[in-house]
């Protein structure tokens, strides 16, 4: 099956019921989506599928016919960090970093359609994402700083 990830096309060999997470990590070696719980409970594997935040561990390959997948690796142009990445860096929103990719992808999706999102909207968009360093305040600060820049 053909799959587009971060703008590049790939021929995937895994069977159709393999999770997108395993395809990304084990076949394409794209390692930013994390295998936290692999049952939808932690949010560390969230990627964008056609711009929408989705749990890659809950998405079978066969459901992705014609879809475009974006991971953290696709956020930056390779020179400068994307605004959400820079904000995580600037506000110390990553501690161990395990939840950061999922958080950043969910935030990216939110800010794409709500550039001036409020703290409550940010909180709701990230509700399914667990940070076991419990660095939620800094994470909300990071996303909010991008939203404030977007609203300005």
């Amino acid at each position: 099956m053909h799959l587009v990830v971060n703008g590049l096309g790939h021929e995937i060999r895994a069977d159709g019921l393999t999770s997108l997470l395993r395809v990304l990590r084990e076949e394409l070696f794209i390692l930013s989506p994390k295998a936290g719980c692999e049952q939808g409970g932690c949010g560390a594997c969230t990627v964008l599928i056609d711009g929408q935040p989705r749990r890659s561990c809950l998405t079978p390959l066969a459901a992705l016919e014609g879809a475009e997948v974006t991971t953290v690796e696709g956020l930056s142009d390779g020179v400068d960090l994307a605004p959400i990445q820079q904000a995580f860096y600037d506000t110390y929103a990553s501690q161990c970093g395990f939840c950061s990719p999922g958080m950043m992808m969910a935030a990216t999706a939110l800010l794409a359609h709500t550039p001036d999102a409020s703290r409550d909207q940010i909180s709701e968009a990230l509700e399914g994402h667990i940070c076991r360093c419990t660095g939620y305040v800094k994470i909300l600060d990071a996303v909010e700083s991008v939203a404030k820049a977007g609203a300005a």
Partner: protein, 261 residues
């Protein structure tokens, strides 16, 4: 390594029904939020998987006061459904899961590894939903209570729910990203009396017939709530003990009934 399951991907309701047949050896996947981890972890090794996500079974239509909800309508797209279904749906998991998980999958869910699932079953029971499904013996439409109790492995096509009735909804949350329902009570006042149902009281939701009978006999909400745990075998799981559920269920029933006016 064993061969992967055969994958069936119908593109119309008729194709889905034909592929399902009598259901023997077929595992149905709607959004995949329950099923995919079972496959990933190897807890389930089906012969055939029927993916119905593109079978044209999604959508919410209102006709003459009855709302028809397609089986693969995502939990996150039930804003136009009757209450208390809307409120219950808002509390299922999180936004990313609600966008994918389906009402049909939620209706057919049985108990999870560590907590009850199927938070929409109780509102559907209270609303007196009618379930249209295919499987052995062809297509049939039946009351949701019969559908849940028989649980014979049928393919849900659509769910009909009467709208515009007074309702009540009360729940116990455990702070968690996922809002797993410890206990939730739905009540709906219909033409033939009040229906009351609870999630979190076992592997699937149950109507609280003791409460309903007491209300029909003229009991106050307070007295009727005293019958809340009748006939139930309350579970102890990762969220709460049976003892705690036994203490809290009558309280939630009182609260839900209190909202009926």
């Amino acid at each position: 390594m064993s061969a992967p399951p055969e994958l069936l991907t119908p593109t119309s309701p008729a194709e889905a029904a034909a592929a399902f047949g009598d259901g023997a050896g077929v595992t149905v996947m709607g959004g995949g939020t329950i099923l995919l981890p079972e496959l990933t972890y190897g807890r389930l090794r089906p012969e055939r998987v029927l993916m119905i996500g593109r079978a044209g079974l999604s959508g919410v239509d209102n006709a003459n006061g009855v709302v028809r909800i397609g089986a693969t309508t995502p939990v996150g797209e039930l804003q136009d459904a009757p209450e208390p279904l809307v409120t219950a749906a808002k509390h299922v998991a999180d936004r990313e899961i609600r966008a994918v998980g389906t009402i049909g999958g939620n209706l057919c869910a049985t108990g999870g590894v560590s907590a009850p699932r199927g938070d929409l079953q109780a509102p559907l029971l209270a609303l007196g939903a009618r379930i249209t499904s295919v499987g052995a013996g062809g297509e049939k439409t039946e009351d949701v209570e019969a559908f849940i109790e028989e649980h014979t492995g049928r393919l849900v096509l659509s769910i009909d729910v009467p709208g515009g009735q007074p309702f009540g909804y009360a729940r116990l949350d455990r702070p968690h990203t996922h809002h797993y329902t410890m206990l939730a009570v739905s009540a709906v006042k219909g033409a033939d009396g009040v229906r009351v149902a609870a999630s979190g009281v076992g592997p699937v939701a149950r109507r609280l017939h003791g409460v309903e009978k007491a209300l029909a006999g003229g009991a106050s909400a307070e007295d009727a709530a005293g019958h809340a745990t009748e006939g139930l075998d309350l579970p102890t799981d990762a969220l709460a003990s049976a003892w705690y559920r036994e203490q809290m269920l009558p309280l939630l029933v009182r609260r839900a009934l209190g909202q009926l006016g």
